[in-house]
């Protein structure tokens, strides 16, 4: 049975999330099939990256504030959290996370009459997401902490002079400046978080009904055809597109954050490939 490329796309475009044809192609692999299935797997990479980034952003802000707090009780836990997640391989974190989640009681935890389900955590879509979320929160927190420490002293003094204090000072003066200063580094963090989602494939979290991420399908094709020269470059191609898209989106935010500055003082986003984990 041969399929045209349009039929292939219709059958496999959403294969990774359980729609369309169930059987994976077994022989006579076409380029179209490889592009479609790997692209279908990319949906999972996008899901992990986007949700972890979004949730991680909030935790990162809280952690950055805690790390720069004067109280030891806030500062020390934040410092340890950040060091633990930045100082150890994500790969080990995945394994450890999975082993810890498996140990949770199967039937959920009863808390004041409400049952908290724990079986989700042993599935990749939730468990791996939690690990990625904690990981990116730690990396982003370090970026925001650094940015918070480089907020110009004059800005704070000006705020004091105008009688802006407390939370209002944080929300109107400190936080926007911190975000602006940290944004170029945060862009890199976002890009490399998306790259890190490919590691989910190697974590212990099982792929359910052959519904995996981009690398899952790429390695499927590489295993079946003994030819790494087609599927892996396809993944590479998709990720280059994703990187360009992310840079574009984050650049738009960067422009917004810098809109009040003269053009020669605006921060520019530069790709720094030093953030893989």
């Amino acid at each position: 049975m041969t399929m045209t490329c349009t039929e292939t796309i219709a059958a496999y475009a959403f294969r990774s999330i359980g729609f369309g044809e169930r059987m994976l192609p077994k022989s006579d692999f076409t380029l179209c099939q490889q592009f479609t299935l790997i692209g279908s797997g990319l949906i999972w990479n996008l899901y992990y990256g986007a949700l972890a980034l979004l949730a991680g952003f909030f935790l990162a802000n809280a952690l950055a504030l805690a790390k720069s707090a004067r109280s030891r009780w806030l500062r020390k836990p934040a410092e340890w959290f950040i060091f633990t997640f930045r100082g150890s391989p994500l790969f080990i974190q995945f394994f450890l996370g999975y082993q810890a989640f498996v140990l949770l009681p199967k039937n959920g935890i009863d808390l004041l009459g409400v049952t908290i389900h724990t079986d989700w955590l042993t599935k990749a879509w939730c468990g791996a997401l939690v690990v990625l979320f904690l990981n990116t929160a730690a990396y982003s927190a370090e970026i925001f902490y650094g940015a918070l420490r480089s907020v110009p002293k004059g800005d704070i003094e000006a705020a004091d002079a105008y009688g802006i204090t407390g939370f209002k000072r944080f929300r109107r003066i400190l936080w926007p400046t911190m975000l602006r200063l940290g944004w170029p580094a945060y862009t890199n963090e976002a890009i490399f978080l998306f790259h890190a989602t490919t590691l989910v494939f190697f974590s212990s979290f099982p792929a359910f009904r052959q519904q995996g991420d981009a690398l899952y399908y790429a390695s499927y094709f590489a295993d079946k055809t003994y030819n790494p020269f087609i599927p892996y470059p396809i993944v590479g191609f998709y990720f280059i597109c994703l990187t360009l898209l992310l840079t574009f989106a984050f650049n738009a935010v960067n422009k917004h954050l810098n809109r009040h500055l003269p053009s020669n003082q605006r921060a520019r986003i530069r790709l720094r490939p030093q953030l893989i984990r």
């Binding site: 391989p89 080990i92 082993q99 810890a100 790259h195 390695s219 790494p228 490939p273 030093q274 893989i276």
Partner: protein
């Protein structure tokens, strides 16, 4: 290892634990930490060499070399490094075997790639099928080292390229004014001065390299992750030391190992930075000069 460990079923408590932790397989587990350290010790200088050549190529006047160098530097920017690890190990293996195939079996007529198969003549297999297991392991480890070196070489090239450009222009112009040739300027002025600019980036890379070592497991080398999986899994009574699923504890141990390694590296690198800043025309060097005066 110890005499009293001869019959594990009679042991209990502390002695059981002691005997368990010194069993033959655990010794292999401890040796595998050596594997990781060997990988780091071999990869770091090779990657530095690759990076150095990449950076020089990217700065060259020859357009071909420049494009090649820049492409090498760029490749790690948009594509996840893990893809390269997956790709290079198979690709290098196939390239080597294809090359040997053409050298050793010129009369072989069957195509190498037939649809679903990659087939070279038996003489071109690396290592030969009859070779003992240890050679297969060494070959796998060698492929892993080369893959690590290629990928981390690209990162290093980025850092060194930036560092070479960061050396103050006036230093090079002075060298030219004194009549040093391009080669002499490079060797005596540029390279000695670039390290202090490269060090923050290189320290970062070293920490990343440490954290990339669990990828050895993906490349099929029996490293610490492999042994942690193997030893931690629950063991039934048919084993000498039956226990439940202890993988969580083994992985916690690996986590502690990596955190400790990272911390020690950070301290050493901080000292090295201080040392290299001595007498340099940078803010740190200036601060040291003032402190001494």
């Amino acid at each position: 290892m110890f005499a009293q460990c001869a019959d594990p079923s009679t042991l209990s408590g502390f002695t059981w634990m002691l005997c368990y932790l010194t069993s033959g397989k655990h010794l292999l587990f401890y040796y595998s930490f050596g594997t990781v350290l060997v990988l780091l010790a071999v990869t770091a200088p090779v990657a530095l060499g690759f990076g150095f050549m990449g950076a020089i190529a990217a700065r060259a006047h020859n357009p071909v070399a420049r494009v090649a160098g820049k492409t090498y530097m760029l490749m790690v920017r948009g594509i996840p490094d893990i893809i390269f690890f997956m790709f290079f190990v198979i690709a290098l293996d196939q390239l080597l075997e294809t090359g040997l195939h053409y050298i050793r079996c010129p009369d072989w007529t069957d195509p190498i790639r037939t649809g679903l198969e990659f087939k070279v003549c038996p003489e071109a297999k690396i290592p030969p099928n009859s070779a003992p297991q240890i050679f297969h392991q060494i070959y796998g480890f060698g492929l892993a080292v080369v893959t690590f070196a290629i990928v981390f070489g690209a990162f290093t090239a980025n850092v060194l390229y930036g560092a070479m450009n960061a050396v103050p222009r006036a230093q090079l112009e002075t060298a030219e004014a004194y009549g040093l040739s391009a080669r002499q300027t490079f060797r005596r002025i540029l390279v000695p001065q670039m390290w202090v600019y490269a060090l923050p980036g290189l320290s970062n890379l070293w920490l990343i390299l440490i954290k990339a070592t669990p990828l050895l497991f993906l490349l099929g080398v029996n490293d610490i992750v492999f042994w942690a999986q193997e030893l931690g899994g629950s063991k039934t009574d048919s084993y000498a030391y039956p226990h439940d699923d202890w993988r969580l504890w083994y992985f916690l141990f690996l986590l502690a190992f990596y955190l400790a390694f990272t911390r020690v590296s950070e301290i050493v690198l901080a000292r090295l930075t201080k040392r290299l800043s001595h007498g340099q025309a940078t803010l740190a060097g200036e601060a040291m000069r003032k402190a001494a005066a």
